[in-house]
Symmetry: C2
Subunit: 557 residues, 2 copies
């Protein structure tokens, strides 16, 4: 039978990638990356360090450039490959990255008078200009709609949809007033490819709507107009202009337009899957299923699991979001995360620059690998960038204790790795405390790929095997899997994932002795975590340093 | 009138120094340093990292070499200088550094059969082989003689006299059995110069006896034989062979012998002052008096003050010792200290080696100087080598919190400096809480001499002016002052110090605004100090990181 392929389009912070995948076996036959043309590495900055925008022209051009190049590459690497074998396209993006559009669904930034106005561009996920509005929304929801907050960890973030729109309304009213509506990047790209940008055709993915815009089927979709009007009457009236068509990623939002088909050499009408965030489609690409936790480990982590939506599920406190269908259709998507993992190691290497030239990640990892658990006598909290889950508190900072006059950089590096592992275990425990059983952990992302020392420490700390995703591009692969389902190649994700995703042969298994030591260290970590993170009395701490010394002495024996 | 001079002989860990001082004005006219010939930089080591010994031959030769060279140097630098103008010699040494001697007061290490036996040598202050014996002595005293412990901070140390002798008795019985008695280095050198080594002539200084051997006039001198016999009957019978002649440093233990006079070209019979520890004579050289705290700041600190012994004085808990006459005659000498100060900065520079080549003390100090109090958001505990005062706990370790993804080496360096300043303030507060008013702070030692940034931070943290000793050799100068009093040039220390000691013109005055910020930071330091250092419940800590962020934000405004 003639092979069939799908394309996964993965919009990152600095670049976009197109991945061509064989739907029969998940083989990634070709890919192409294009760095955005605008701004600094694709991000438009200003004097305000909180501002981070992108130009929507880069999104459109990025689809064209990467798909053409990926197809050209596939023609070279696969004998007999033809673009006609592409049966669908899936899209994943950063988010919440909303952009204002006009009454035809076209970005305001495409108009000449707004072409250089950052407020008319896409407000990138990491734009932090809307801190005041986020606090205002959180306070309002706490007072009038507490159930809105229960699904997003108790605090509405400055990185999210409504905060950004409200900030635009307050600080760039000309842009807000010119906008008909606002759309997420994850929904904009599928709409462009399928020609469904116009409001009467536009479909939004449930992932972005549910995790970032407080959309929930249980309360009739987006926050009600009365609530939004309390923030600003114009926000209340905007609600009427948001789409009511909300889709999971198994659904096609429309077929590829003839214009795009011509431009790319693809078949017109092939389905375009509803878009979702990179981490959520990454979870699919890594093989997520009930009982599996997918950890996407990079500068920070995204930790995702799913629970069938027929199950009773409590509001797990401290999570980033619980959204029906945000990952797999028919399942609650549960999102947690650590505010910094690789970023902590990067801080130590790039800012502290320990050990002169011996202070590379490679050298420090090699030094850390030689140490036994507990041997350093150090214990750290992984809060250099705050704590996303389970404390949901950005105003927490790092802590390290146990330093002597002989503490080395490699010991500190290992303690930092261990701290992130303890943070990971805290998230797993939180899921299980609320009845969400984690039966396996699937890791992906750069650190999982490249650092076996980190993965072994994670196994030893958690007492669980660490599996690594077979693909190095799980987000784009997940988008390609979505396309395979949306195009009907597979009837459901379970069947598609079985064929298209998998893990590497090497599984990091916990060492029982190391796990025993880490159990003691984790108990101390939790006491520091609770003492500095929770608003509760917590008894004595004067034994912490001494217990570390005893653990150290036993490790050195 | 013909100028008169005294010699201060200062026995350090690696070398001995002779300083020739004009008694009329304290002018240091000549000095000479000689590194000990035995061991590694003067310290005899073994496979056991706790072992640190010195060969007593170095002490005798060191006196001869340095005094001869210093006199030669004086002849060059002072027109008409003659050795006959030297009117007395004072001696300060490390301690507790006891050595076993025979029935004539001669070191056992001088015998051929013991010449290479470390147990027969001097047990240097930092020898830590006697940890078990120290614990045994502490436990015994707690049970039977709690008043012994009250004068030495509640714990008898492995660095001290009885611990070392008991360890020798247990592990090198041949040496112990061959010994007639044990003497401190601080007493041995004056005895050698005055020919009073024989037991019937030997005088011990009250400084070493009181601070390290639990000698106290209130309980008839050394610990009683019954108590010592509980540890070991041989220790009980040793007590009878210890001297009952105990002297303060204003007293001469005897005149310079004709043999030594001939060897050195000095006048026979000039008084040799009773010996004392370097820090205690250093306090005199820095100008100590009631109300003054002398801080000798090096790798660690020694903090010394005096109180007239006519005053009512409580047992100040957490001090290293309270001994009548250990510094100035007629005054209680109160000794406190920080286990590491310069050593913490050295650890950061030498072990962590931050910032590549930019990680020198000079570069980090320059970077730290540019920061405002509170600006880094960091807070540290200065416990990398434990806490000597006020917690008396070597099993405490370092702690740092407030790290972000942007924390720099200079910020950490400043936080470490501030931590040692907070530790210094805690000692000052402890004195004052027990009625010992500190009216001025006199600093000496390498860091006080060389690092104005550290001194300004100390002034800002404590809210007190920091004065710096005029002399860079306060220990040797103090020994020379003692010699001036012992030889009758001055009738008392107050008169001698007025002429011979002084401070530098530059005084570091506290900045009111900086002190205001440090008051807030110190409150947080004390909460961490008490939480991790004291065995008490201590309420909540969850506001600590947030308060640091608020202080940081105000500092950056």
């Amino acid at each position: 039978m003639n092979p069939r392929y799908t394309i996964g389009l993965d919009y990152g912070t600095n670049s976009v990638r197109a991945l061509v995948v064989d739907v029969a076996n998940g083989k990634e036959v070709a890919s192409a990356v294009w760095g955005y043309a605008h701004g600094v590495e694709g991000v438009i900055l200003s004097r305000d360090p909180n501002l981070a925008r992108q130009h929507p022209a880069d999104y459109v051009r990025g689809a064209e450039v990467t798909i053409r190049r990926a197809l050209a590459s596939a023609r070279k690497s696969v004998r007999g490959f033809e673009a006609g074998q592409i049966v669908g396209i899936g899209v994943d993006t950063t988010g919440s990255t909303p952009l204002p559009v006009d009454s035809k669904g076209q970005p305001l930034a495409f108009r000449r008078n707004f072409a250089n106005n950052p407020a008319a561009m896409a407000w990138l996920w990491k734009d932090h200009t809307s801190v005041a509005e986020a606090a205002e929304i959180t306070a309002a929801a706490r007072q009038w709609r507490p159930h809105y907050l229960a699904k997003c960890g108790g605090i509405y973030s400055s990185e999210w949809f409504w905060s950004k729109i409200l900030h635009c309304l307050r600080t760039a009213p000309a842009v807000f007033n010119a906008s008909h509506s606002w759309v997420e990047l994850a929904d904009y790209v599928p709409a462009v490819l399928s020609g469904t940008e116009a409001p009467d055709q536009f479909t939004a993915g449930v992932c972005a709507a549910g995790h970032k815009a407080m959309w929930n089927a249980n309360w009739d979709g987006y926050p009600d107009a009365e609530f939004l009007s309390k923030l600003d009457p114009k926000l209340g009236s905007l609600r009427k202009r948001l789409t009511t068509r909300i889709a999971t990623v198994d659904k096609s939002v429309g077929g590829l337009t003839p214009q795009w088909a011509r431009k790319l050499g693809l078949t017109a009408g092939i389905p375009i899957a509803a878009g979702a965030f990179d981490a959520h489609l990454g979870a699919i690409g890594a093989g997520i299923a009930p009982g599996a936790l997918v950890k996407i480990i990079g500068t920070s982590t995204c930790d995702i699991t799913v629970v069938p939506n027929t199950a009773q599920l409590a509001d797990v406190p401290g999570l980033c979001g619980i959204v029906d269908g945000s990952v797999l259709p028919g399942h609650f998507g549960l999102e947690a995360g650590q505010s910094a993992v690789g970023d902590i190691f990067n801080w130590f290497v790039n800012y502290i620059q320990p050990g002169g030239k011996a202070g590379t990640h490679e050298a420090l990892t090699a030094g850390a690998a030689k140490l036994k658990p507990g041997e350093s006598g150090l214990l750290a909290l992984d809060w250099n960038n705050g704590n996303r889950t389970i404390l949901v508190d950005q105003r927490l900072t790092g802590l390290m204790l146990g330093q002597t006059l002989y503490t080395t950089p490699a010991e500190i590096y290992r303690a930092l790795i261990e701290a992130t592992a303890f943070g990971a275990l805290t998230i797993i425990n939180r899921f299980e405390e609320y009845g969400v059983k984690i039966k396996q952990v699937l890791n992906c992302g750069g650190i999982a790929e490249k650092n076996p020392v980190v993965m072994q420490i994670y196994a030893d700390v958690t007492g669980r095997p660490m599996k690594i995703s077979r693909s190095a591009q799980t987000c784009a692969l997940g988008a390609a899997v979505a396309a395979a389902v949306a195009s009907g190649v597979y009837g459901n994700f379970s069947a598609a994932q079985r064929k298209m995703t998998g893990i590497k042969p090497t599984v990091f298994k916990p060492n029982a002795k190391a796990h025993g030591v880490y159990k003691q260290l984790y108990a101390l970590y939790r006491r520091l975590h609770d003492a500095f993170g929770l608003g509760e009395d917590h008894g004595r701490l004067d034994d912490v340093m001494k217990q570390l010394i005893e653990i150290r002495n036993r490790a050195r024996r």
